[in-house]
Symmetry: C2
Subunit: 182 residues, 2 copies
DNA sequence: ACTTGCATGTAAGTGGTTACATGATTGG
DNA sequence: CCAATCATGTAACCACTTACATGCAAGT
C-alpha cells in the first residue's frame, strides 16, 4: 500500500486537499494505520491528476493561502477498485521496542523502566485515538469493522503490557551504571 | 530499526554468515518481526566490518561454496548497546488487508471471501511459526517475553478474525459480477 | 517579536528491494 | 537435465523522508 493508493482511498470518501490528506494520516489516523508526509503526498496527487484519476480546483480563501481541492474521477474509482482486487501485500509489523525488550538483560534497569512506561503510554494513546475516531466518525460498516479489529488488538496489547512489563524490568541489569557501552 | 542493527543483534547472539542472517529473518522469524534481503544484508556486513564492529573469517567447505563467518567485536557490542539506549523509533503496523476490508462494500463477495480466508490462514501460519520458535529455541528470558507478547497478539488476531470475518463477507457486493472496475 | 496553523511544492538523501551475475553440489 | 540449496556480491531502481523554500494571518 503506497501513498498513491492511500490518496485514492481518501478521495474515494470525498474531496480533500493534500494538506487534509496528510492530517488524516497523522492525526485522524485512518484506522488502517498508514503515515505519509507532504513530500510524498503532493507528488502523488500531481501524478494522479496527470493520469486523469483525480481532478482539482483551486479555491481561494480569505486570510488563508489558496488550496487545491482534489476529487476522484470515475477512472480513479475504477483504478482504486482494481488495486483492491489485486493480490494484497503482506501485513507488516515492525517494533523497535520488541528488539529493545529482547535485550533487556544487557540494559540498565532505569532505561528499561523508562522505555516500558513510554511504550505503555503509546499503546494507551493509540487506543484512545481509535476510540475517538470510532466515536466522531459516523462511519460506514467497513470502517467500523476495521476500527473494531484495531481496537481489539490495541486493548490486548495494552493489557498484556500492563501485566508483564514488570517481568521485563526485573530482567534488566540491576547495577546502577557502569555504562556497558563505553 | 535498520538492517545494520538487525545484523548486530543477530551477531550479538553468536557467529553467523550473511546467508544465515537472512534465513533467520525470513524463516526463523526473529520474533521481533523484521525482514531483510541479501541486497541489504551483504553491504551492511561489509560496512560493519570496515567500521570494526564485526570481523570475518572465510571458511572453506567441501562441496559447498566458501562462506564468510562474521563475529561481533567488543566495539560492535558497545555500538549495539548504544543503539538500544538511544530513543526508540515508532512501532509500525501497516495492513493492506485492513485497507481492503474497509472497502468490502464495493468489492465482489467472492473476492472478500477469498481474501478473508487467506488472511486467516496467514494469521494461523504466523502464530504456528512463533509457537515453533518458542518450542525449538531454548531461548533466554528476553526472547521468551517477546515471543509471548507476539503470540498473545497473534492468538487474539486469529480469534477475532475467525469470529468476525463473516460480517465482512456480508458487507460485500452480493451481485455475481458486473465488474465495477471496467 | 515569535510561534503556530494553513497551504503548496521541490531537491537531496536514505534505506531499502529486485534482478542480475557467478558457481559448485546434490537430489529428483 | 533441471531445480534447489548453499553462498556472495553488485547495480539499477523505488518509495518515501527530511529539509528547504515561500508566504500570509492569527494568536501569545
Amino acid at each position: 500500500m503506497n501513498v498513491r493508493t492511500l490518496c485514492l482511498s481518501i478521495l474515494f470518501e470525498g474531496e480533500a486537499t493534500g494538506y487534509e490528506i496528510r492530517r488524516k494520516c497523522v492525526e485522524g489516523e485512518c484506522a488502517y494505520f498508514i503515515e505519509a508526509s507532504f513530500g510524498s503526498i503532493y507528488p502523488a496527487l500531481n501524478k494522479l491528476e496527470q493520469e486523469g484519476l483525480v481532478t482539482s480546483r483551486t479555491q481561494q480563501q480569505s486570510g488563508k493561502p489558496a488550496k487545491k481541492v482534489y476529487s476522484i474521477t470515475d477512472a480513479g474509482r475504477a483504478a482504486f477498485a482494481d488495486e483492491l482486487a489485486a493480490p494484497l501485500g503482506e501485513d507488516v509489523f515492525r517494533s523497535p521496542f520488541l528488539l529493545f525488550a529482547r535485550y533487556a538483560h544487557i540494559l540498565p534497569r532505569e532505561l528499561v523502566e523508562t522505555r516500558a512506561a513510554e511504550q505503555l503510554d503509546k499503546l494507551v494513546q493509540d487506543r484512545k485515538k481509535l476510540d475517538n475516531v470510532a466515536a466522531e466518525h459516523g462511519s460506514k460498516a467497513g470502517d467500523t469493522w476495521v476500527l473494531n479489529y484495531g481496537r481489539a488488538i490495541m486493548e490486548l496489547a495494552e493489557r498484556h503490557m500492563r501485566a508483564h512489563m514488570h517481568e521485563l524490568i526485573t530482567m534488566a541489569r540491576a547495577e546502577p551504571n557502569k555504562d556497558a557501552a563505553e
